[in-house]
Every structure is written in structure tokens, then in C-alpha cells.
Amino acid sequence: MYSEKVMELFKNPRNMGEMENPDGVGTVGNPICGDLMTIYIKVDGDRLKDVKFKTFGCAAAIATSSMITELAKGKTIADALKITRDDVAEELDGLPPIKMHCSNLAADGLHAAIEGYKRKCDVERASYGMPG
């Protein structure tokens, strides 16, 4: 079902944990649907110096979270904003079709964190059914 990369990151997620004094925090997903993701960023100039996550959800949700932190870390904010859900799925050697929609939220989470950084507030976006 899952690619080896997904399983590897699920078992050994990188950059996992809460961040102390983050510059931006984005929370996306909805635990009612089984996935909730928080992405923390630390910004240095126009670059993401650090990216961390915490995730409630399936193996795919955890792996995509881990992947986004790796993809984003060190990138400029402009470049980080260019990372799409598809990029994440691709980097993971694909996700099962059923997981593409609900569990592949990490790019959204990153974008939300960056928005939070810009607006100087936490941003929370529930994906479906819930007010933002």
C-alpha cells in the first residue's frame, strides 16, 4: 500500500516535535476526519531556518508532515510557498489514491504557518466542514 519512503518516514519522522517560540504556526486538517497537523516555522531573514511538526493521523499524514519539513527547511519563503501537495506525494514515491486528498495536507500546513508568520498570528485551517 505505502511506498518504502512513506513507511520509513512514518517510522522515523524527521523534525518531529513542538517548537519553542516559533515565528509561525499553521494547523490544518480536522481530527473529526482523522487528520490534524501542526507545522511550526522559525524564520531567519527570508529563509526558513527551522521547520517542525506534530501530527495526529495515519501513516501517510505523519510521513507527509515529516517530508514537508525536510523539503522546506533552508528554503526561502518564496520558494517554500511553491511546494505543492503533489511535490510532497512525489517525493514520497506516491501515496495511495485514497490518501491523496485527506492525508496529504502538509503543504497546506506549511503555507498556513508562513501566512501565520506574515500575519503574526497562528493560522488554523480546517480542511472540510469546519470553520477556519
Binding site: M7, G17, I32, G34, A61
Partner: protein, 419 residues
């Protein structure tokens, strides 16, 4: 430790091979069971030697027919029915469909009473009938998953054509008071169907004493082969077929009979009956090690389903702040095969209808784990699970943004209540 080590020469990738050389503990017997070696032995001659079509007149046909008669007797005996009250089907789902649509199509219209925690084979069949103009009531259950006979009684009206309540739930293992319910049905002259796919071989069933008119069985839940099942139809109960053809199984289920499968199922029933005295206490012992040790060891862990009226092999837990699939995948990585609930729904994204029906909210429902034991599980395997499970839960809670976030959880709970 005497764990079964399975060495795998047949499977594909190196990764798979490595994995299967590890300890493997199968705790998903509600999804399906291994076929008992004695069952395989019984089946084997019917593939290559006694391979006739049971409808054929010649010796090959008669061999097949005799084997089927023998199997029918074994199935009947497991539930104290007569041989000619048993028809063979392709599985529990087909049995449920034939029973429910069979009565509905015979009566042409009317009102069906079932519960909100039935297996999809019953629920989706009822929903299909609703689209065709039948009316259906899905009775609620209490927080343990029990259907109240008094609720059945008050749901009955003049148009009621069928009451279908499962014997034991496939997710949380709760056993229903079907004897009481069947009595009510019988007193009202309404046919009573029960899905006994999970209970057969684990809880004694006597269709006579229990007043059951229709009862579904599935072979692969009781150490028989997949793709075979049976429907018990009490003498005198009339149903319409849903599969038409050569008129096999008294016209109720046409198709060349699956003789090896039927022979295997018959053998599985014979074994189930014979071994019940030995298997059930064994399951109780394992289960009653597993349940208290889990809920006592792991913080914020809870048992779902009925504390007493539950299948001897079922342990169904809920852990705050973690999601079921990631729990299954983590256990799998440790060689433990488990499930979040019913096999067929675990790939879906909606929370289990059973857990919602017992009053859990969506987040709680997502955090569930079903461990279902089998006759070949050992004390050592349970010990191993009790060792691994707390570590896995802890790891996932570390990753979770909800763990120890009462405030967060509370917020979501409120959101859910608003809906």
C-alpha cells in the same frame, strides 16, 4: 518465547522477506482466520481427484454430491438445524443478502427492523431495499452496543416483514440478546434473521431453542476457506432467490457447487463444534489477560463494547489522541496484525458507524484498535503484544498535537457537538 516464526520464500521484495522472517502475531481473527490444516487436508482430494460436478449423474458427480451432503450435515449440526435447512452460499455477505432480500422480495413491500450496528452486508442491503421502496428502522444501541429487546418490540408494526439483528458485533464484539428478540419476533409472527458470522463456533447456537428463522454463517471466520458460507432457512420460511440459474440449492442459490470449499467449511464446522469446549476457555484466558493489562497499563485507554456480553476473542480499545491507522501500521511493523474495526471499513476514512452508534465522537472513534484472538494464539504472543503496545501508543502520542492537550480536544469536542 515460543513465537511462530514464518519464513517466507514465496513473497516478492527483499523488504517483505525481511519482514516476514520476523515474529508475526496474528490478532485479526475477526477479519479472517487461517485455514485449519485439517480443513485443508479434507479439501485437497476434491480439487484433483473427486472433482466432479455435484449435479452430474456419473460416479464423479455422486462423489461430489455425497461430500456435499456430509458437509451440509456438519454445518447443520453446529447450529442444531436439519441438513435440508442449510443452503450453501459464497460467504457471509451473500447469506445476509439472500436472507434479507429473499424475504423482502417475497413480501414485495413492507417494513424491516434492524440495528444501527449491523455489518455492512446487512446495513447496505437494507439501504438498497429502502431505495426500492421498503421501509427500514435502524434501532439504536446503548453505550455497550446492546440492542434492547423492548426497542424491537415497540418498533414492530403491522407492516413489519422481517427483524434482522446480528448475534455478535464484528467490531466491538458485543453479543446481542437475540433469544429474547427472536421470541418477540416469533410471538408477532415475524421472521427473525441473525447474522452469526462472528459468533458461530464461539458462542453456542441452537436455532430451535433460540427461535431463529434465518441465520448467516461464513466459513473463513471459523478456520474454513474463504468464499463459502451458509444460510440456515427454517423449514416453512419462504424466500425469493437473488441469483438465478440452474436451480442449485433448491433454486435459492444457483451455480455449480464449490465442493472443495463446501467440504472445507463442513470440516471447519465439525472442528468448531468439537473444539468449542477447548477453544473458548483458551480465548477467554488470553482475552482476559489482554484487556485488563492494556487498560491498566496504558494511560487514557478504554475498552469499547460490553464488559461481559462480548465475544471470547474480542478486545477493542480506544486510546486518546492517536489515530487508528497509524497504530495498526506501527504494530504491523512490530509483526502484530491488528485492525481498527471491521476489515472492510479500515481503508475508508469515515469513522466506524458502530463506534458512533455507541456514542463515541469522531476523534475518539478514530483512536480505536481491535485485537481479535484465535485458537492458535499463545500466552507468549499476548505477552509480546502487552510489551509492544504501550511503546507504540507512547510513540504516536509524542507525535500527536492532541496528546495532553485537554484544551485542544475539548475545542474539537465542542465543534463536533455543534454539528
Amino acid at each position: 518465547m515460543n513465537l511462530r516464526i514464518i519464513k517466507d520464500e514465496k513473497m516478492g521484495s527483499v523488504e517483505e522477506k525481511m519482514k516476514s522472517a520476523k515474529k508475526r502475531v496474528y490478532l485479526d481473527h475477526a477479519a479472517t482466520t487461517p485455514v485449519d490444516p485439517a480443513v485443508v487436508d479434507a479439501m485437497l482430494p476434491y480439487f484433483t481427484r473427486f472433482y466432479g460436478n455435484a449435479s452430474s449423474l456419473h460416479a464423479y458427480g455422486r462423489e461430489a454430491h455425497n461430500a456435499m451432503d456430509e458437509a451440509r450435515k456438519n454445518v447443520a449440526e453446529l447450529i442444531n438445524a436439519e441438513s435440508d435447512e442449510i443452503i450453501f452460499t459464497a460467504g457471509g455477505t451473500e447469506s445476509d443478502n439472500i436472507a434479507i432480500k429473499g424475504i423482502a422480495y417475497k413480501k414485495k413491500k413492507g417494513y424491516i427492523i434492524t440495528s444501527s450496528i449491523e455489518h455492512p452486508a446487512v446495513l447496505e442491503t437494507c439501504r438498497a431495499l429502502e431505495r426500492e421502496g421498503f421501509e427500514v428502522t435502524y434501532l439504536p444501541v446503548d453505550r455497550f452496543g446492546t440492542v434492547y429487546p423492548s426497542n424491537v418490540e415497540s418498533a414492530i408494526n403491522d407492516e413489519t416483514i422481517l427483524i434482522s439483528i446480528m448475534h455478535a458485533n464484528n467490531e466491538i464484539g458485543t453479543i446481542q440478546p437475540i433469544k429474547e428478540i427472536a421470541k418477540i419476533a416469533s410471538e408477532s409472527g415475524i421472521p427473525f434473521h441473525t447474522d452469526a458470522v462472528q459468533s458461530a463456533g464461539k458462542v453456542p447456537i441452537d436455532v430451535r431453542r433460540m427461535n431463529i428463522d434465518l441465520l448467516s454463517l461464513s466459513s473463513h471466520k471459523i478456520y474454513g476457506p474463504k468464499g463459502v458460507g451458509a444460510l440456515y432457512i427454517r423449514k416453512g420460511v419462504r424466500i425469493e432467490p437473488i441469483i438465478h440459474g440452474g436451480g442449485h440449492e433448491r433454486g435459492l442459490r444457483s451455480s455449480t457447487e464449490n465442493i472443495p470449499g463446501i467440504v472445507g467449511f463442513g470440516k471447519a464446522c465439525e472442528l468448531a463444534k468439537k473444539r468449542m469446549d477447548k477453544d473458548v476457555p483458551h480465548l477467554f484466558k488470553l482475552r482476559d489477560t489482554l484487556i485488563p493489562n492494556t487498560v491498566n497499563t496504558i494511560e487514557e485507554s478504554y475498552l469499547n463494547g460490553h464488559p461481559k456480553e462480548r465475544l471470547p476473542n474480542n478486545a477493542h480499545f480506544r486510546f486518546t489522541a492517536i489515530e487508528g491507522e497509524s497504530l495498526i501500521m506501527s504494530l504491523d511493523d512490530e509483526g502484530i496484525a491488528a485492525s481498527t474495526g471491521s476489515a472492510c471499513s479500515s481503508k475508508k476514512l469515515e469513522p466506524s458507524h458502530v463506534l458512533m452508534a455507541i456514542g463515541l465522537n469522531e476523534v475518539e472513534a478514530h483512536g480505536s484498535l481491535r485485537l481479535t484472538l484465535g485458537r492458535e494464539n499463545t500466552d507468549e504472543e499476548v505477552e509480546y503484544v502487552l510489551e509492544v503496545l504501550p511503546e507504540v501508543v507512547e510513540r504516536l502520542r509524542e507525535i500527536s498535537p492532541l496528546w495532553k492537550k485537554e484544551f485542544e480536544i475539548e475545542r474539537w469536542r465542542k465543534e463536533m457537538e455543534k454539528r
